[in-house]
């Protein structure tokens, strides 16, 4: 069984009955290794569809938690349970509960460093006072508004006035890795505690480079939870900012109070081009500023790599991965119309959306997919189960689709002993933005048609 990852949360969803006989088959050694490689901030086991479990049934998951924590230092635990299941877990692991319990997946999301920035009003009441405080502090750190109920009656009286209520939840050890998420076209890294030379190990520089390469222009460090930083971390961020500037990309810090580090540090970082904001909303909710920072009209100085022979030689595999995935997800047949080496060229791009995803490792490059909005909508129908005209939802689904294409590419190439990793996808609501970003960059353009509708595949580096 594998965890399904969304918004930085990886969830295992066993079904039916969990006991010592079947759970060790549900989670194998390979599953544990695969989970370690996931880019997740929280790993959870949902008990929503488990009707019966005993301690032996849960033990295999608890062992998984221990291994993941040891390797990745991220939050682990169970979610989606009722009061009866909650009490059973507490009884099983009374003095040995070193994982977290979240009533629902939605409550777990409140604690995820990579989930939504929306501030939520949350009412808390548990039997354990130290838990109440721990939950409140963690929620506050994540930008929410926690309120502690004074008694059970107080909790019952107030519970209908809050976005979320937390009662049957327990926080175990929380994560402390550098988490990554994409909001619009900005990449947000979450950093916490004391920043020292370790940041160089925790930060995935290859990932950052490839995000620069596929055209991301704004990188925000969510630094609310940073306690302090030393000279080594200062040097790291200065170098990162200078390097990113070569791609016309900007680095910002949100929520890093000046009391947490010397004034001279701030000056050095500002000299490197880093911009400071008091809070995340100051960047994300200011559309004009966001547009400027994402550098729509700027021209890259370094980002002009052209396609090479090694990448072109994998073109058939990459096309196959794309076509097979889209055919499967839309139930439509693809027809190849033309192949040319050129810059991205589109005669008509109304009612089109696009997404790009980078890959790196034994081979590096980027694919761009330009879809008719109808195909994107059809994909939405499969993934969310209903038709929608909500642009954000369509773009979000497009990201999932491109992620699946990336996963397929990874599988096909690994069969040929070519190992790659993929970046987070970037989406484009306006094709003009895509054209601006890829200006001057040649690649292989394959024009396809799905059930008569034009579709563009572009491979470059």
């Amino acid at each position: 069984m594998r965890a399904v990852i969304k918004n930085g949360i990886g969830i295992f969803s066993p079904q039916g009955f969990l006991d010592g006989n079947n759970s060790s088959i549900l989670v194998t050694f390979e599953d544990i290794e695969a989970t370690k490689k996931l880019n997740a901030d929280i790993i959870l086991v949902s008990l929503k569809k488990v009707i019966f479990f005993n301690r032996n049934g849960l033990d295999i998951f608890v062992k998984l938690f221990t291994k993941i924590r040891k390797d990745k230092h991220i939050t682990v635990g169970f979610c989606d349970y009722d009061e009866k299941k909650f009490n059973a877990i507490k009884n099983f692991y009374a003095n040995d509960l070193n994982f977290s319990l979240f009533q629902t997946k939605e409550i777990a999301e409140l604690f995820s460093p990579t989930y939504s920035n929306d501030k939520r009003d949350v009412l808390i009441y548990t039997d354990d006072k130290s838990q109440n405080s721990a939950i409140a502090i963690e929620l506050h750190d994540n930008g929410h508004n926690p309120i502690l109920a004074q008694s059970k009656q107080d909790f019952l009286n107030k519970k209908n006035n809050f976005d979320y209520v937390i009662s049957n939840s327990i926080l175990g050890c929380m994560g402390n890795s550098v988490a990554t998420r994409v909001t619009g076209n900005a990449i947000i890294y979450t950093i916490s505690t004391f920043l020292d030379a370790e940041i160089g190990n925790k930060f995935n520089i290859a990932y950052h480079n490839n995000s620069l390469n596929i055209g991301f222009k704004l990188f925000i460090f969510d630094a609310y939870k940073v306690v302090s930083m030393n000279i080594h971390a200062l040097n790291f961020f200065s170098k990162l900012a200078s390097y990113s500037a070569e791609y016309n990309a900007t680095i910002c810090f949100a929520g890093l109070s000046s009391t947490k580090f010397p004034e001279s540090f701030k000056e050095t970082l500002e000299d490197s081009g880093i911009i400071f904001f008091n809070q995340m909303d100051d960047i994300l909710n200011d559309e004009k500023q966001l547009k400027e920072l994402t550098g729509v009209t700027s021209v890259n100085t370094k980002n002009k790599r052209h396609i090479n022979k090694a990448t072109v030689s994998e073109l058939p595999n990459l096309i196959d991965a794309t076509v097979a995935t889209i055919e499967m997800m839309t139930n439509a047949k693809a027809l190849k119309e033309s192949v040319n080496i050129q810059e991205v060229t589109l005669k008509n791009h109304t009612d089109m959306v696009a997404s790009s995803i980078g890959f790196y490792g034994d081979l590096d490059g980027m694919i761009i997919l330009v879809f008719p909005i109808d195909i994107a909508k059809k994909t939405c129908e499969l993934l969310i189960g209903e038709e929608t005209d909500d642009t954000d939802m369509i773009l979000d689904t497009l990201s999932e689709l491109v992620n699946i294409v990336g996963g397929k590419m990874k599988t096909i190439l690994s069969d040929e002993n070519v190992n790659i990793n993929i970046t987070l996808p970037r989406t484009y609501q306006k094709i003009s933005t895509l054209l601006e970003n890829t200006k001057g960059r040649k690649g292989v353009q394959v024009d396809l048609a799905f059930d008569g509708k034009k579709f563009l595949f572009f491979l470059t580096r």
Binding site: M1, V4, K6, F17, N22, I51, M328, N331, E400, K408
Partner: protein
């Protein structure tokens, strides 16, 4: 693709039709005589009734004796189970099953379904046979998704969708609709397909009596699919387990199956 699959479903062989006909009118001896002539059916019946779940101390190999032990409804259930095996693939591609483990699933479901019906005080040949159609959903799933398994797994790696939901969203037709088509083609009693549809956990029946049976069957299916042999076969999450649908009968089920 679904139309093609339904078209390819073979009609029930004449010998089986005749055996079922005799069982329907209660002619156990005549039914066993016809069944005896069909070597594949005889061999299947011998292998299935000698599984430990049937609890016979000695090996039973005589077809009239098997029919005698099983009784009319048990014999009919076994013949339908055999009919289902005609649809199962020689080599499973999506699930890690083989003929032995598939027969084991059929046997486990059949015997436990009988226990449930006894508990519910239901004596009805057709209802007893209904369980035999349930594994058809697994056969159909393997046939439709087997060739695309890598693509489907990638899809499932970003979105926790079960096979039934994927099929429904792509084709507006689900695994249990195909089971119903099979039951029509094989002229199975109408009640069977109604119970199977309710057992999907997605389509509650308007008839209370059918709905109750659908709930018990849904829970029984997940009880069986949680057994190590079927977890290993990767059957545990091929359809969605609707825990709310069965919550009102769970305690009764747990007592009946001695779950502690």
């Amino acid at each position: 693709m679904i139309d093609l699959y339904i078209q390819k479903i073979p009609p029930a062989p004449k010998a089986l039709q005749k055996t079922i006909h005799y069982l329907n009118i209660g002619e156990l001896t005549k039914a066993s005589s016809v069944a005896k002539e069909d070597l594949a059916l005889s061999s299947y019946l011998k292998s299935i009734v000698n599984k430990p779940i049937y609890g016979f101390r000695n090996n039973v190999s005589d077809i009239p004796q098997i029919f005698g032990i099983l009784g009319v409804s048990g014999a009919k259930q076994s013949v339908y189970n055999y009919l289902l095996t005609l649809l199962s693939p020689d080599k499973w591609s999506l699930f890690k099953l083989n003929s032995n483990s598939f027969h084991e699933l059929q046997a486990q479901l059949s015997v436990k379904w009988k226990i449930i019906l006894k508990h519910l005080n239901i004596i009805d040949k057709d209802i007893e046979s209904a369980i035999t159609l349930l594994p058809a959903s697994i056969i159909v799933c393997d046939a439709l998704f087997g060739e695309k398994i890598e693509d489907v797994n990638l899809l499932r790696s970003v979105n926790n969708l079960d096979f039934n939901t994927i099929l429904m969203r792509l084709c507006k037709f689900d695994l249990f609709d195909i089971c119903e088509e099979i039951s029509i083609k094989w002229e199975m009693p109408e009640n069977i397909s109604k119970i199977i549809q309710a057992s999907s956990g997605k389509k509650e029946s308007s008839e209370d009596s059918i709905n109750i049976l659908g709930k018990w069957m849904h829970l029984l299916l997940f009880y069986e699919l949680s057994q190590p042999i079927f977890v290993k076969a990767e059957l545990n999450d091929f359809i969605d387990f609707n825990i709310e649908y069965v919550s009102d009968i769970y305690e009764e089920f747990a007592q009946l199956m001695d779950i502690k």
